[in-house]
Symmetry: D2
């Protein structure tokens, strides 16, 4: 049995991690910790976990962390930006595995992180060792490794939607525009008026309008990785437009990706190309142009569904890619990565069908 | 008093027209007709109109149409594609005014309509006389006219979002991409499984993926109009990507417009430019980049709210524009057009604040 | 013109009051005040009021209150329990009219308020002078008066649903059970996790389970009033079960009222009885048993829709009554009461059709 | 491996059955049949099952039924009222097990069914052999049996909420009122305007107002069973009020049960009583009065959550009981019953945590 602990257990993403772990046959929980909810039972934070877990949430300090490292095989973290490395250092020093939900160790080049997150990075060396891993793109990098940067939600949907055409060098540089829509679990649990059902329902809006969302450079780094650019030289990467929106729903991300192609293709050729890349992937389903994907086809799972199309009038690729933002976009992919680094079948505990309707 | 009649009264758009007319001090209803709901009381189709209207819905035939034309000053139509001109001919012959909610007379060049709607147009001459009118763009064309093509919902939000930068010649040709999201009233009242609350709620998806939505050429015609192209020569127009989506809400359209600009601007300059064009318009509100607009700011009204921004990294304009699809996108604009052609203040009956939350 | 001011302008109910006042031809705003939002523009609190009001929100203190009383004809308050009388005293001393949205002056007997609200009442004499007024039940009491307790949302829907059978002495004592459901605007704007769209949508629950909601004694007082009991002797009133729930929607209250009748009736007789009481009321619509009312038939309006039925097997009345909780349940009824005490037609500014769908 | 087949596979309930079976380690699908969707792939009806099942839906006729019986160990049916027995006869004749989702064999006395369903029952003997089984109430009746009537959704939530107090003889006869609320999956997949997201969202209403819903006698039969009445003598049963409503959500039933008790109790005593009955039940969670249950605590699972309370003022029990209507209310309980009759652990395949948020 793999014993896991969570730092930041009160977040939606970690509630989902616990929910999914109920079905994982090879794991058991060691400790649950959280800065804010310490002292409460885990089911007081996540009432739907009543009957499945009854741990008390530990505070997150030197002492509890020592205990956590000692008694866990793997530690998951969902903590504030800038505070990850201090935890990771101890986990690695204890010889245990570490998977982070945040962005602290997602950029090979810590300076890119510093620029977009407005903080000084505490450990530039660690970012070079950390493995950023969307398994369908780069699973070989992660096998046997201990320090995993679990990808962001928008970057996961976007990168999987772009991978085949980027890999085949079909995309004209600097033409990529990604219009993204997310449910409100992506905005977290901290209450604010704009997230109240009264104001959020029957409402749709953009945010971070005109650029500036922190997932922009993460997607750009992924594009650079796939197209063979040097990840330590961000000045060589191409720029994209990444524009997020909030859709009045709980879960689900849809990204519509636009890019000019350097060759003419048919919808059928695109479908076949994407199938070539993904047909052996358990978690990626490709659909023909006549079947635009729906976020609900992924609800509660680690699935990504993609419909690639081509608009011959404008010579642009138009791809719709959907995931559950706290599934494949967070907890699901974290378990997939855990399975990967522990040598388990990647699908262990994740073969579940989406809740529909 | 202006006596109005409606052909197609059972549609959501015409339910909204009736709802708004309750507050219009200068109109009264003459007849309500509909092919499918004939014989029922109007409040059986639109239960919320109970107590406000108690007309019986007439069938739509030679005889009733004669009666309608005789007793009405203006006739609104929301009927099947291809069936508008036959009604319009009679209304005009009777010396009355005519406002159509559909696309039959929206294209100056009937061949463009034929190409996208897959039907033979019954009256090529009529499309040349009809006035397509978004009042904020082209009100002078409509004054005193009798034959009005009320614009589509997506084209209204898109065109108002593009008008200032197009008029100022700031947009690089063939770079416009419009990512649109609509609530389900835009999909009409005809029941289908994908519109059921069970399947539609908590769900988001694209439709007409990769091009093909019929509002595409309407927006292209509007761009051609603003940039001074010949509307009878569609081969001279630029192509756009127009990609619609369904968002799990009742009302509201948001369009995010991307376009490469031929000059660098600041967000503040853009805001000032849009204000210059719209500050005297009662129904258009412009917001600074820090305030992305929300669909709910327009619910139940004839308002259009716009936030224009510029992404200096990619040199692209990113505009978010929102309307109520059955308000400014249909019934509200139809009343605004009616006010215009009858010489009333355009805002008559339309000075209502959005229902929020 | 009636000049009105609001204390507590940042609440949902007062946002709705301002929204409705846009259409009121006989009023104009004097001042808007709020303890928490002072210094902000009103459209920063209620973004949908952009373009309709641009007042700065005043703090609520001695000085501003003096100014408000001086320059207003009527003052509306939506403030914390226990703080109403201090404001009311000044308004009345200034010879102006006063309408309160809260419960401070709703109980003739201040001790009943003290028992349920757990506070000491600051002015027992004032509650005896104040007029609690659902116009359809007791409009004559309010004509020409200056101190109005605007009824609560649940009590309005419940009392209108019970009025005819109570007035006709058809209800067996102590058999009334009211199962109520409210949208989330009823829970206010203060953010809390359970009101977030992520947790509230697709969810339904009871609250204050098993008794204890503060609207219980208000409904009991209304029953006592209609059945001719002494409002100063609450020990003579009958008890009811009032059980509220939260339904995943923005606006709308539905109450299902159960009561044993002391005589057998048919659905048709009940319909006719309710029509007898309400047919001349502009804001109350009665429907036959085959047409259960829907909350959306009242959205954004001052309407109350009622379907009364009888279950012959159990000899119980079953009534469904719906309102918009911030319309007839708050702002709409407040305007109706304002019209009443100023001698205007009660429907002034309120003849609007519900937003449907 | 248990080989199962489904007649009526295109329904929501059977989509959920298939979804849950993905996680059941002891079953495999034999055939999927449906009168209406024959010839389509199962994932065309239930798109979220893409990648999990690829069977073609068979028509439902003599020939296919023979094949189904031959190759299946158990057959589930979700078919039109009145058509169940013809299928059941063949399944039983083939020596296989049979579980029905509908009401045809739920009433011991077929005449009760005839009265409420308005049809002639085709097989009065079969209803006497069939076992109606909510396992927590009557599992011993079902062990080893072959003909199972899977209970209705409302009756399951209601009966589990009443069981302890009925069993303890604490309820005064003829005082039970059940106010029920259901999400729209309970209303099925057949499209109708009132189920469209445009009309159903932000809306709440009663239906079958004043009595008449077919689940009424099913709950009355359950009460009769628990209190030891003769199920063949419905004239000896007590009457209840059962009043259903539609809440604007996808899944979830909440019932609020009111009943006069023949003794005074405290909330704590009630909690302890319910715990005594349910603490060993995996699928039933009891909560104290301060924690009203929420439908979302059961989403996608076979759980039932219950908060029992007592209102000392009115001497009435007030219980809130929640389930997922297509989980414990249909597919989940059907699997639980299948596990039971095949001698498996009842929880096999059903130990899953609810999707929250």
């Amino acid at each position: 049995m793999i014993r896991f602990s969570i730092c930041g257990a009160a977040s939606y993403a970690c509630g989902e991690l616990l929910r999914l772990m109920v079905n994982h046959p090879e794991t058991e929980v060691a400790y649950l910790a959280d800065t804010f909810a310490a002292g409460r039972k885990i089911y007081e934070e996540h009432p739907a976990l009543m009957g499945f877990y009854d741990q008390e949430i530990l505070p997150l300090n030197e002492e509890t962390l020592e205990q956590i490292v000692k008694d866990s095989d793997v530690v998951f973290t969902a903590v504030d930006a800038g505070t990850v490395c201090a935890i990771a250092e101890k986990v690695l020093a204890g010889g245990k595995k570490f998977i982070d939900f945040g962005a602290d160790i997602r950029f090979r080049d810590a300076k890119t992180w510093e620029k977009w997150y407005g903080l000084q990075h505490p450990n530039h060396e660690m970012t070079k060792e950390a493995v950023y891993c969307i398994p369908e793109i780069q699973r070989d990098l992660a096998k046997g490794k201990s320090l995993i940067a679990n990808p962001g939600c928008y970057p996961t949907a976007s990168t999987l939607g772009l991978f085949p055409v980027l890999k085949e060098n079909m995309v004209v540089e600097n033409t990529i525009i990604i219009d993204a829509k997310s449910g409100f679990t992506g905005a977290g649990r901290r209450p604010a008026p704009n997230k109240l059902i009264s104001e959020a329902s029957n409402n749709f809006c953009a945010y971070s309008l005109g650029g500036g969302h922190r997932h922009t450079p993460e997607i750009e780094q992924n594009i650079a990785y796939i197209t063979g650019k040097d990840l330590m030289q961000p000045e060589t990467w191409q720029y994209i437009n990444f524009q997020p929106h909030l859709t009045p729903q709980v879960r689900g991300i849809e990204v519509t990706i636009y890019a000019t192609l350097n060759q003419e293709v048919t919808n059928e050729e695109l479908y076949n190309l994407y199938q070539k890349y993904y047909q052996d992937e358990y978690f990626v389903h490709v659909f023909p142009a006549s079947k635009p994907v729906q976020t609900k086809w992924t609800a509660g799972t680690n699935l990504c569904c993609i419909t690639p199309t081509y608009d011959a009038r404008t010579k642009r690729l138009v791809v719709s890619s959907v995931i559950d933002n706290i599934g494949k976009g967070a907890a699901g992919q974290a378990i997939q990565n855990m399975n990967l680094i522990f040598g388990l079948d990647e699908t262990t505990g994740l073969k579940i069908a989406p809740m529909y309707p």
